[in-house]
Point group: C2
Chain length 355, copies 2
């Protein structure tokens, strides 16, 4: 069907070695006349090197595996896009794998990716379980983690300072005078969820407000989960004038549920999210949230992968980016009605508490 290097060699009247040398641009020099003859033959026959043959010989396939929990959660496509953009610029292809947060599926994928001889793996996922990660490292497969990294494991990673992000979100609420702030967390097993919870606690404790377990719920990072947590909180009579959610999806679900219970946003309850997905600015009221530089994180992760593949120093580097609080309307802050400035415990306005 498509021309092989052999046919090009014959057409150009040279050996296959020479053709290989000119098309793969190896260090070996070939004279200008022959180079041009080869190039002419290549053009004439429409030759394209077969990448799988090349991969077999060079033991480098130019593919990397991307493992995400669920590509239809808008947080991950943004990262995937960054990864894909720099990968394709570098001539690499990316294999997409959806695990649905299922460890068994993740392991299965690891197997098929290894069989496919991917050059490296980017995990935009991973729970607390690190067994297979360690194994990969031992096997020498380049791995970079993005957006999520398990607790005490020394691996390359591109992250955001989750704790600080959640702290800033909470501080924003405190600055606006809120004192009873609820927290909608993620799955308690996920490190990323724990860090955000910790940030929330930090902020509260810094101003002397005790953290009240009755105001904390755990969701699943989906909108419905956020709604469910709010419903549970309200049903059991928790009192709060604001809520920080561990991600935007849950924040949006929470907003919907709060509305269903007759709460006005942001007047009765302020809410802030985490991630800054596209829809954060599209819901009403526009969601105040902690932005992660998702696209950039994807780019950085892939760039680090490129370094690793290029034979760079393999000692793990952990890149932690700063999150950025984006103030929109869901806390009422951007309308300039609320007092701005440092607050101390006990000060600040009292809103009519929810329930």
């Amino acid at each position: 069907m498509t021309a092989t290097i052999r046919e090009v060699a014959r057409a150009a009247g040279v050996s296959v070695a020479t053709v290989s040398r000119v098309v793969s641009g190896s260090a070996h020099r070939v004279s200008d006349p022959t180079r041009h003859r080869v190039l002419a033959a290549v053009a004439r026959l429409g030759y394209h090197p077969n990448l799988v043959a090349r991969g077999l010989k060079k033991r480098v396939t130019g593919t990397i595996g991307l493992i995400v929990p669920d590509i239809s959660n808008p947080f991950f496509p943004a990262i995937a896009r960054g990864i894909e953009d720099v990968a394709s610029r570098a001539g690499l292809a990316v294999l997409l794998c959806n695990t649905y947060e299922d460890l068994a599926k993740e392991r299965t994928y690891l197997g098929v990716l290894r069989k496919r001889m991917v050059d490296g793996l980017i995990f935009a996922t991973v729970g607390a379980n690190t067994g297979h990660l360690r194994m990969l490292r031992r096997q020498g497969v380049p791995v970079v983690l993005v957006a999520r990294a398990p607790d005490g494991v020394e691996m390359d990673a591109v992250l955001v300072d989750n704790r600080r992000g959640a702290r800033e979100a909470t501080e924003h609420l405190l600055r606006l005078g809120h004192r009873r702030i609820a927290f909608i967390g993620g799955p308690a097993t996920l490190p990323v969820a724990r860090e955000r919870l910790a940030g929330y606690c930090d902020a509260l404790q810094a101003v002397g407000i005790p953290v009240d377990p009755a105001r904390i719920g755990h969701g699943d990072f989906h909108a419905d989960g956020g709604a469910a947590v709010v419903a549970a909180l309200l049903r059991r009579g928790a009192a709060f004038t604001a809520v920080v959610a561990a991600n935007d999806l849950m924040a949006i679900g929470a907003m919907r549920e709060l509305r269903r219970w007759g709460r006005r946003l942001p007047d009765d309850v302020a809410v802030v999210g985490f991630d800054d997905i596209t829809f954060a600015s599209l819901v009403d009221p526009r969601l105040t949230t902690v932005a992660q530089p998702k696209y950039r994180m994807g780019c950085l992760a892939m760039e680090r992968m490129l370094e690793l593949l290029g034979g760079a120093d393999r000692t793990p580097r952990r890149l932690v980016l700063e999150p950025r609080l984006i103030v929109r309307d869901s806390c009422g802050a951007s309308r300039g009605r609320a007092p701005v400035g440092r607050v101390t415990a006990g000060a600040g306005r009292r809103r009519h508490p929810v329930s």
Copy 2:
């Protein structure tokens, strides 16, 4: 690093041919005793066949290329997920390619995918340009189009009846008494956009309402584009009490912009979208929209691909699914305030027109 078939053969005391026969389960029978010896050796050495070597030999790589305009547009991940799910169940891997709707990039990807010997291509994109598609067909590469298909080209495709969907959306509005209905279309070059526009026109003309070009704008399928179209419409004084948008993203952008202009939703203006992305039910008011079975479309496309790869009849089959109108709150219909039933031109209520 990892064991090869040769080492397994040695360990089991058989030839590589035999090992190949047992691990790849070819038609050739091998006796139970030897099979077990081989299997034992495989287990002992942790052998996994190298898929790139296999691909080179069999000329089948077990990968398919997925080409989407932009994975961060939530419509496509839903499709991708369907594709990926059935692909992985069939042992195939999918290579993700983002074209940003750029034909040059699309062509580049086609090249690299061919070099990588993908077994088939799924396009969740494609404008009016069909040159490269025809070429692929001539080359015998299995191709299936999903969600978008150019006008007069005979290729496998999984689609939705866009025209009918848009017609039903418009009819819904007509039934609610709207007479001045604006349309936010997609890029005029995209077949899918033209079909939806046609459906809108159909509905209007069926009740004798002339379509008014002054109420039609063209966006880019993004939220900001939808907002821009609304702004343009309002600025030039177009009068309408409802708008149908060619996709949800634009509908959501339109809602935001309408609100900025002081219009209440759905009381002053009703809006209906197209696609039913997750966020359609998360915005406020919840968006009435024409649902596409996105995940299912992805599955069907991949299943068709599997048939094609299995050597099924290659005469193109065009699967067109029925869209489904999902009535939520953005038209005010679900609150039961509007008269329901057949309407005729000129009848129906008059709302205070926009501008």
